[in-house]
């Protein structure tokens, strides 16, 4: 599953399309880890084209957020998650720890 990463001055934007479940979550993890390994911890996850999110995908976001927020060095924020995805994040207990934005512009501007 193709994951695009775009580096901006103040943050990185990760975009993935389609379904995120156990079969594709590892692709997302690789993309997130690549950014963190470079010492960059301010990340926007653009979910505008994500149709489906299971707990496997939530796990990747949780692990990424833990690393981003460690020592207050950064944050993982979510842009354009639809209601079903927000509900899944809420059921898994992660929504509480994520800033959610309706669009990518607002999300990037938050950094």
């Amino acid at each position: 599953m193709a994951v695009e990463t775009t580096q901006f001055k103040r943050c990185d934007v990760v975009k993935m399309a389609g379904r995120i479940d156990s079969s594709t979550a590892s692709d997302l993890k690789k993309a997130m880890d690549a950014i963190l390994d470079e010492g960059r911890y301010k990340v926007v996850f653009d979910m505008s084209e994500v149709e489906f999110l299971s707990s496997s995908g939530v796990w990747v976001l949780l692990e990424t957020q833990k690393k981003c927020k460690r020592w207050n060095r950064g944050d993982l924020v979510i842009a354009s998650a639809n209601e079903n995805i927000q509900r899944t994040l809420d059921l898994a207990g992660l929504k509480h720890f994520m800033r959610m934005y309706d669009d990518i512009t607002s999300a990037v501007a938050s950094f």
Partner: protein
């Protein structure tokens, strides 16, 4: 009753979920309900691979869909390690981020998405997960 049997691999999830979505629509469920059924099945099948079989490539996953006048019943079967849902605690969300664990999240999602959820031993060994979504 229509049944699919797939290898216990993450790459099989698309086939099971597509089968369930088609069955859900045939049962007259709306698109929101179709999503919920899709998600519950994905979680249930992933749990089979991860926990009943301890990983990919160790067994098969069987999915049966019963379309009735009032909704859809989905039965997931495996032949792996017995599972006791009572042994899985409800997740504790009242913790700092560093301590948040997703153990039990799949089960919580399944119970939230479906109207009835029932685990029982599979007659031939393993487990049976029976889930129902009403129209």
């Amino acid at each position: 009753m229509p049944t699919v049997r797939v290898p216990g691999r993450y790459s099989s999830l698309d086939a099971i979920c597509e089968f369930v979505r088609e069955s859900a629509r045939a049962a007259g469920l709306g698109e929101q309900q179709v999503y919920e059924v899709d998600l519950a099945t994905n979680e249930g099948a992933s749990n089979i691979i991860d926990h009943a079989y301890g990983g990919e490539g160790e067994g098969v996953v069987e999915c049966t869909c019963e379309i009735g006048p009032d909704g859809l019943t989905i039965i997931l079967r495996d032949w792996g390690e017995p599972f006791d849902p009572a042994a899985v605690d409800e997740p504790d969300f009242n913790v700092p981020l560093e301590e948040l664990s997703l153990r039990g999240a799949g089960l919580r999602i399944i119970r939230n998405c479906m109207d009835e959820v029932n685990y029982s031993p599979n007659a031939k060994g393993g487990n049976q997960l029976r889930m129902r979504k009403n129209t």
